[in-house]
Structures are given as structure tokens and as C-alpha cells.
Amino acid sequence: MYEFNYHKASSVSDAEQALRNASDGKIVAGGQTLLPTLKQRLASPSDLIDLGGCSELCGISVDGDTVTIGAMTTHAMVANSAEVQSAIPALAGLASNIGDAQVRNLGTIGGSIANNDPAADYPAACLGLGAVIVTDKREIVADDFFTGLFETALDEHEIITAIRFPKPEKACYQKFPNPASRYALVGVMVAKMSSGVRVAVTGAGADGVFRVDAFESALDGSFSASSLDIEMVHLPDLLEDIHGSPGYRENLIRVMGKRAVEACG
């Protein structure tokens, strides 16, 4: 790990100020992706600004049809939250399968989304459920937020404060883990929203999380697994690595998509 200055922020504005003051500052939330990256010397921020002391960023609230999750809420808190389990069980289920128990105890939803790893689970939840990402400056809809591999719409000094999930009629996330890393080789979120069906896929896209239009319109027509026996036109380029060819990943998108639809009931 390269040397850096460390700041424990007491509030979001404190963190924002520290970020502005640093030549190349980086926010650390749960640190479960950032610290391994730093350990491998793949990044060398001048300053690390820790949000661990910003208690206002931690917590879950349900208001009518909206579930709001603070950016510093850990995966374990989301997974174990009775409110989330009742309002959006698919989201609690997704959180309960991120990483392992120790990662879930520290990793946060805000950190995961800001990092936008192409194999992370939460981006599929945000995009699939049509979440709104709330920052200290504005609100960004998920469709505009995830802009590419490890790229988001966040400005240089912008900090995620919360994520607002609309409650779906029904939803399910099905993950096929990479056998080695246990990240998603393919993860599919299928959500029946009042506005229509949304299908988001993580793990497979060469540019990160994406929606599958063909599946959405097919499911809008008939919400059944057999509706997905169609050609997936307009798929983006799919990732290729030793764990999955593009063809295999395409197959998994369909298989996991169908399983998600079936599990929605």
C-alpha cells in the first residue's frame, strides 16, 4: 500500500471539504473493495477520507412505497432488516449474498455503487428497481448513474448519501457466482414495477450493468419464464474470461432471468 493521509470525516460536508482539500482524495466507505485495491498498489490516493464517523449516512427507512437506505448502511444491515425484507425481499436477498459474512459486516451500499464494479450485485438492484441515487448535491436516477466499467455519473467531489428504492409489485434477484471469486458471473434482477417490468444484468456486460430491453417487453406482454425464450436483441458486448465465454454468459442471463421470474411467482 502506498502512503496516504487519513481523515475521519464527522459529517458529509466535512468529508466533502476534505475531498476538496486533497490533491487526489478518495472516499473510503466499507473499504471492502478499496482496501484490496490499495494493497495491490493499483491505486495511490493522496488522502483517504473515511465516512465511518458519519452516522447520518447509516440507516434504513420505509416511507410509503419507497425504501431509503443510507449510503453507509452495510450489506449485513440491509440483509437482516425486517423493513427491507418485508418491503423488497429481493433486495434483502441480494444483500445477503454479497461477498461473505465478513465482507457484509463492513461493505456498504454506497461504496458498492460508487465503485460500480462490473461484477457487483447492487448496481443490478439499483438499475433493476429503478432506484434514485441521492448525493450531497443532487438526485440521479439509476439509468443515468452507471456510465461504464468502474465509472459513474458522480462528479469529482460528490458523495452518495442515500439510495431510494421504489417498492416493486414483485421482484427477484438471481445470481450465478463466479466459482472462484464469488462475485456475480451473471446476476439478473427482474422487477415488476407499476410502470412496467425492468430487467437488469450485472457480471456479464463489458461496460458494466445493463438492462435487457427484449426481456422487459416480453415480460410486459406476459410475465412468465417462457416469455424469455426469445432472442436477446441489442445485447451489449459481453465479458469474456476463463470462467465464462460470452455465449455462456448469454445463456446464464436467460437461465437466471427465467429463474428470477419463476421465483417472483
Binding site: 500500500m1 502506498y2 495491490q40 498498489r41 450465478f176 466459482p179 472462484a180 471469486s181 462475485y183 474470461d241 476463463i242 470462467h243 465464462g244 465465454s245 455462456y248 445463456n251 446464464l252 437461465v255
Partner: protein, 789 residues
């Protein structure tokens, strides 16, 4: 049976310290004045080094010294086994420098050591070293390496290390010409990374007052390291070189070998006059620990009209990697080809092995070493032959087993098996696996959309390595005996000094059971000491399932000497002839009388020899023994695997894994079962998950746990294990060895089960590891092929 003696599942003596965080692994040791070493490694697979600029790095904060190959002009790291070509000429043995001499030959090859006040400073300074690499094409692929114009070593034309054979090729070819049926397969044994959970580490230290060097290292055999490094690399005589292998966090073969880092820190410690600690990060382990397996083979089995095996021929290419690691050369030859008879009566066998250099990490012994490769190719062939000739998997094996009354059995490939009962093992395995109920389970699985398959493997292995005379005649450059020293203290407690090394196997318990059983003393009164060349007289270490069969026998031999001397002492005190002294349950008795003396009293008398006849009886009670086995030992068994495959995703679930093994006499059943469990997990890992992959440029694609798939708890089932017993006939305990059987027997059972599940879908073969993507491809390939027909 004494409740801490032979046959008892004694809870382990070593566990308290491990469970309370009080184990002492190499990285837990810190020496006064210690510095930290970081090894700068090659980022490219093959390159000339045109220059190394150290100026900036040497000026970096905390740097004590930096050394490159120019500084470290020492002996080559030796290979421990010379193998001859089929024409009798010696193998090609290019130099193996500790620090690169003008050329790097694999990603991870050692280029320099940076020594600094902290590890972070050493690592930071290493980034400032400017190495001018002139990249060369890489030889990355085993199958085509012999045809490449690029040479890994100029000294090895055609990238060939040796072209070796066993058997009469012409005679075997003639048998194939007249065979009723020939089963033919191309078989790949996938390259594995051993991945002991403790990364390797080494601390070198030099005492200028005495001229003594000390090396603390993560080794399975400290004396072997002392010999190889002292005599060959650094020219330090044994009495000035102490090697300590403290608690070691798993080895599986990967910590047998003498590694460059051990020599580098020991040599450099003398230069900087301060201790140097080096420890591998896991990503470094992937690039510097010897890998395992990596064979490609063309194999054929000839059968007569009755389904009897009449001939076997194999042509194997074995990857050596970039340099010859300690035991690399014997693995594909004497530990592989000599096992090709398996448990069968095949009368004629020919095997040709070409050992090949590539620009990859050296390849050497990994749990099973050669024997898994032999078992895999044989059991895949047998499985296929059964399918081609319409026999059941059970029938083809029973028909060809070496019968129970044929032992000792001389195979056509050099080995003589002393004992075994393969039918009994198969019977018990089939019963435990409930083979009879399989069809019903398969139908039930089909109703859930799952493809269920059952696979067999019946194997024999050679371990208890090894009779020195035999291995010496085959090119081994060392003897493979073991030593033991039994020190009986005045109060009757005992310390055993053994040349075996325990790094998970539980020797501190099993060996203590031997002593408790033999001397009739409580196990608490026995301690086992190992891992320090200054304490233990000599040792060849732990590998090849040799610790009990060779190291344990040395202990038994030393115990015999202790008892013999104790009888003399008892005879003296009891005023009898030592020939009349009987020893039982810890008591020496004059035969036919009630005059007796407890072991503890004998021990005390040995050290309080007030009236010993000095010309007949020496004071003290301490005995040394060396044991060299007469033969290998031959554990055998039957593994039966049952899998379920999800055809939509290609995921293979091992739903049942049954292992019935004959490991000879069992000293501690709990420990033996644990050893078998661990071997099974590694075997299943090889079959379904693990595989080291290089790209065409020689970059390792599976360089961390993000990509190299390690079996985790949720990947594996509960195991069904059991043992049958035929005793080894040439050692006193009747033991055979259990450390490797799980990893040797299981991979073909798993793959045979996968093929069984997929056979009706048109799949005929699948390579290891049968990952979800690979299985899905196989199913789709078969679908496409069937549609085209």
C-alpha cells in the same frame, strides 16, 4: 488396547496451541535487528536482462542493501533426481540460479532482493529499480513446446529435458496389433497450484562470532534444505548451518523443495550482518511456489475378447516449467509410469515420458505426485473401455484385479506390491455408496431436471518413500531413510526426535501413541520434537506418505533399542539374565517370578547408575535408529463419486463421495479420516474447480483466489469414508500411509461420474477441471453434433 496407544482416536496434542493462536509459524518469528527482504520478480515470461539500474532504489528511505544476480555468484539450485534418456544418456540439466543471471525464464523469476528496515520500504524501493528487459517469445504451452524454435534454455535443444521410457515398446505394439479391442484417449492432467494456506516465508541470519548461519523456513524437510542449500548452493558446511522449520501451515508437497528465497536471505544475511525476513504475499506464492501435475498423454488400453487387459501404452509430455525443481524429474517417471499397472493384471506396459521446459513456474510434486496422473489416465481408460465393451464398471474392474492370492505381485513396471485385497475394498465401497440404489436416485434426479451420474475409481499407489537402494539405482541423488532418537529422561518421560516433519498430519500425536503403546507410559509423558537440524540428528522429512511407514518405523526401531537396554538395566537391578527379562505394560519382569521393575524406575536407574558394571552397561537411556524401508508401501482403495448436473448452467454438484481405502494398520483413526477428507477435497478441487492457466505470453491468468478456484465449504459434501486392512508385510507396524490416497483416487471417480451423467446426452469426455462453463460447452457441443448427424 491402551487408550492412548495404537488404534485409538487420541485427540491431538498439538491442537491447544493452534486453537489459542499460539502456534509459531515462520512469519510469527522476529529476530533482533531484523530487516525485511522484498524479492523483485520478473513481470515477463522470457527476456534477456540488458541492465539493472539500482541507483534510485538504493537511495530510497530505509534501504539497507540491494543485491542482484551479479552480486550473488553461488552454486546452482540442484535437482535431486537424475533421469536418463532412453538411450542411456543423462537428462538435460540447465543451471537454476537463485537470482537471475542475465535472463528471466518465467513471470515471477527472482531478479533482485531489496533489504530495508521495513517491508513497506523494501517494497516501495523495489518499484524504483529499473530493469531493462529485452523480451523474447514465450514458450507457454506444454503440448507444443517441443516444436517451438524459442528455447527456454540454450543448453536444452528442443526444450527437452529428457526422453525416458519404461517397458518394451515393440513387444507392447505387437500385443496391440492382435488385440480384440483397443480403447484410446487423449488425456490432460491439469496444472494445479498447491496453495497451502500459509504462504512461504524465510528468515536468514548470520552470527559473525561463530560463523554460523540460521535459516527459519516453511519447509517439510529442514535437513534436506540444509543439504541442498549448504552443500550445493552456498557451500556452507552442515555444522555451520542450522535450518529450522517451525510450525508450518500446510505443505502438500510445495514445501519440500529448496527454493531460491531460502538461499537468497541466508546468503544476504551474511552480507548485511543482520537477519532478513522474507514472506510471500499470496500473489507471489502463485508465481513462485512449484505448481503440480501438468501432463498431456496419449493413452491406449488393449483388451482380449474376454475383456481382460492385455496391454497398455502411454506417451506423456510432462511440464517441468522453467527450471528443474528438487523432485520434478522423478514425478512423471518413477512416481507415475511405474504405477501404470494399477490394481490390474495388465501383463505388458510401455510408457514414454518427454519432460519439457516452458516459460512457466517450475512444476514439482503436489499431493500424490505422479500417482494421481497415473490413476487418472488408467481409470479414465478403464471407464471408457467398460462403456465400449458393454461391461459394468464393477465387472471390468473385478475381472482384471490382481487376485488376493497373487501377492507379492510383480508388475511389469518395476514395482512389487506386497499386499492388498482389491475385491474386498470394492465390495465395501459399493455397499457404503449404495450403488444398488443408484438407478432410483438417478430417476428421481431426472424428475427434477438434473442429470445424475456415478463414477468409480480403483487405485493403488506407491508410498512410504522409499528404499534407498531402489531409488538410488533409478537416479535419486539422496537416500530416503529416516532417523529417530528416543531420549528417556530420568523420571521416565520421553522426548522423541524425529526427522519427519509435521505440518498438519498430527505426528506429535500419532508418534506419541507409538511410544505410549510400546513403553506403556501415559501419552502426556511423551513429546515429539521435529523441525530443527540442531535438535534432530538427521531427517529426510515428510512427503510421499512416508512419515509413519518410514519415520514411524525408525521410532519403532529406536524403541526396540530402548527396551533392549532397559532389559539389561532391569536384569542388573533384579539380578537376573537379561534374556529372562520380559517387558509388558510398562513393567520389566523376571520370567516366571513376581520380581518386577517399572519403566520409570529403569529410567531413573539409568541416570543414577551407582553400581553399574561399567564394562557391560553404560549409564543413560537414549537410543538412535535409522530405518531404510525394504520396499515401497502400497495403499489401495476404491472411490465412488455421485454427481448431479444442472444442464441449464453446467454446474456439477458432488452429492456423494465415498472412499474406501486400505492404508494398512491404522494408528489413529480420527487422524487417518482427516487425512483422507483433505485429500478428497483436493481431488474434487482438481476435477471440478482448480486449474492454473497461462496465456500465450506466459502470464498466469489464475494468479489469485479471484481466479484460481479454491474449494470452499459449500462446494463439498460430507464424505463417506471407511478403511479395509491388509497389512504391509515389510514393516513392523504393518502401515502403508494415508496422506495422499484421497487426492490420488478421487479425481477420476469424479470425472467418471460427470461423464456417466452426460453420456446419454452424447458427451464422451470432459477435461479437468469440469467447470460449469466447460460442462455447458460439452453439453452444447454434443447437442450440436447430434443434431448434425
Amino acid at each position: 488396547m491402551n487408550d492412548t496407544g495404537i488404534g485409538a482416536s487420541v485427540r491431538r496434542k498439538e491442537d491447544f496451541r493452534f486453537l489459542t493462536g499460539q502456534g509459531t509459524y515462520t512469519d510469527d518469528i522476529n529476530r533482533p535487528g531484523q530487516t525485511y527482504g522484498y524479492i523483485l520478480r520478473s513481470p515477463v515470461a522470457h527476456a534477456k536482462i540488458n541492465g539493472i539500474d539500482l541507483a534510485e532504489a538504493k537511495a530510497a528511505p530505509g534501504v539497507v542493501a540491494i543485491f542482484t544476480g551479479d552480486d550473488m555468484q553461488v552454486g546452482s539450485i540442484p535437482c535431486g533426481w537424475g533421469v536418463n534418456n532412453k538411450d542411456g544418456s543423462p537428462m538435460n540439466e540447465p543451471p537454476h540460479p537463485a537470482l537471475a543471471q542475465g535472463k528471466v525464464r518465467h513471470v515471477g523469476d527472482q531478479v533482485a532482493i531489496v533489504i530495508a528496515e521495513s517491508y513497506a520500504e523494501a517494497r516501495a524501493a523495489a518499484e524504483l529499480i529499473d530493469v531493462d528487459y529485452e523480451e523474447l517469445p514465450a514458450v507457454a504451452d506444454l503440448a507444443t513446446a517441443l516444436d517451438q524454435s524459442t528455447l527456454v534454455h540454450d543448453e536444452a535443444p528442443g526444450n527437452l529435458c529428457y526422453d525416458w521410457e519404461i517397458g518394451e515398446e515393440a513387444q507392447v505394439n505387437a500385443i496391440f496389433e492382435s488385440a480384440h479391442h483397443v480403447t484410446s484417449m487423449d488425456i490432460v492432467n491439469n496444472r494445479l497450484v498447491p496453495n497451502a494456506m500459509e504462504p512461504r516465508a524465510a528468515i536468514g541470519e548470520y552470527d559473525s562470532a561463530t560463523g554460523e548461519y540460521t535459516l527459519y523456513t516453511t519447509s517439510q524437510n529442514p535437513h534436506v534444505i540444509r543439504l541442498l542449500m549448504g552443500a550445493f548452493v552456498l557451500q556452507i558446511p552442515e555444522h555451520k548451518l542450522r535450518v529450522v522449520a517451525p510450525d508450518v501451515g500446510g505443505g502438500f508437497g510445495s514445501k519440500i523443495f529448496h527454493y531460491a528465497e531460502e538461499a537468497i536471505v541466508t546468503w544476504a544475511a551474511q552480507k548485511v550482518r543482520r537477519p532478513i525476513k522474507w514472506r510471500a504475499e499470496r500473489s507471489e506464492s502463485f508465481l513462485s511456489d512449484a505448481h503440480g501435475r501438468d501432463h498431456v498423454t496419449k493413452a491406449e488400453l488393449a483388451l482380449d475378447q474376454d475383456g481382460k487387459f492385455i496391454g497398455l501404452r502411454c506417451y506423456t509430455k510432462a511440464n517441468m516449467g522453467a527450471y528443474l525443481s528438487t523432485f520434478s524429474t522423478c514425478v512423471p517417471t518413477y512416481l507415475h509410469a511405474t504405477l501404470l499397472a494399477g490394481v490390474y493384471t495388465t501383463p505388458a506396459i510401455y510408457c514414454n515420458v518427454k519432460a519439457v521446459f516452458t516459460n512457466t513456474v517450475p512444476v514439482d510434486a503436489y499431493r500424490g505426485a505422479g500417482r494421481p496422473e497415473a490413476t487418472y489416465l488408467l481409470e479414465r481408460l478403464v471407464d471408457r473401455a467398460a462403456r465400449e465393451t458393454g461391461m459394468s464398471q464393477s465387472e471390468i474392474r473385478r475381472k482384471n484385479f490382481i487376485p488376493e492370492d497373487a501377492f507379492p505381485y510383480q508388475t511389469p513396471v518395476a514395482l512389487q506390491y506386497d499386499s492388498g485385497n482389491y475385491t474386498a475394498t470394492l465390495d465395501r465401497a459399493e455397499e457404503l455408496a449404495d450403488v444398488a440404489g443408484f438407478q432410483a436416485r438417478r430417476s428421481e434426479a431426472a424428475s427434477r431436471g438434473k442429470l445424475r451420474g456415478l463414477g468409480y475409481s480403483t487405485y493403488v499407489e506407491a508410498c512410504g518413500i522409499a528404499p534407498s537402494a531402489v531409488v538410488g539405482s533409478l537416479g535419486a541423488r539422496a537416500g530416503l531413510f529416516e532417523s529417530a532418537n528416543i531420549r528417556v529422561h530420568p523420571t521416565g518421560s520421553v522426548t522423541v526426535y524425529t526427522g519427519s516433519h509435521s505440518h498438519g498430519q498430527g505426528h506429535e500425536t500419532t508418534f506419541a501413541q507409538l511410544v505410549s503403546d510400546s513403553l506403556g507410559i501415559p501419552i502426556e509423558n511423551v513429546d515429539i520434537s521435529h523441525g530443527d537440524t540442531n535438535k534432530v540428528a538427521f531427517g529426510m522429512g515428510t512427503y510421499g506418505s512416508r512419515s509413519l511407514a518410514v519415520g514411524g518405523e525408525a521410532i519403532m526401531k529406536a524403541l526396540d533399542k530402548v527396551i533392549t537396554k532397559s532389559k539389561k538395566i532391569a536384569a542388573h537391578v533384579l539380578e537376573a539374565d537379561s534374556a529372562d527379562i520380559e517387558f509388558k505394560d510398562g513393567k520389566f519382569t523376571v520370567a516366571g517370578t513376581d520380581r518386577e521393575m517399572a519403566f520409570g524406575d529403569v529410567a531413573l536407574t539409568a541416570y543414577v547408575p551407582h553400581n553399574f558394571p561399567h564394562d557391560e552397561l553404560e549409564p543413560g537411556l537414549e537410543e538412535q535408529a535409522f530405518y531404510d524401508p525394504m520396499n515401497f508401501t502400497y495403499p489401495a482403495g476404491c472411490h465412488i463419486c455421485e454427481v448431479e448436473i444442472d444442464p441449464d448452467t453446467g454446474v456439477v454438484e458432488v452429492v456423494a463421495m465415498t472412499a474406501m481405502d486400505d492404508v494398512g494398520r491404522v494408528i489413529n483413526p480420527m487422524i487417518v479420516e482427516g487425512q483422507i477428507h483433505g485429500g478428497l477435497a483436493q481431488g474434487i478441487g482438481q476435477a471440478l474447480m482448480e486449474g492454473a492457466r497461462y496465456d500465450d505470453d506466459g502470464q498466469l491468468l489464475t494468479g489469485s483466489y479471484m481466479d484460481y478456484c479454491m474449494p470452499r465449504a459449500d462446494d463439498l459434501p460430507d464424505f463417506k469414508v471407511g478403511t479395509t486392512t491388509t497389512l504391509c508385510t515389510h514393516n513392523s507396524l504393518g502401515v502403508k500411509g494415508c496422506g495422499e490416497v484421497g487426492a490420488i483416487g478421487s479425481p477420476p471417480a469424479v470425472i467418471n461420474a460427470v461423464v456417466d451423467a452426460l453420456w446419454d446426452q452424447g458427451v464422451r469426455d470432459i477435461a479437468m477441471p469440469a467447470t460449469p462453463n466447460a460442462v455447458w460447452n460439452a453439453l452444447n457441443g454434443a447437442k450440436t453434433a447430434m443434431a448434425a448427424e
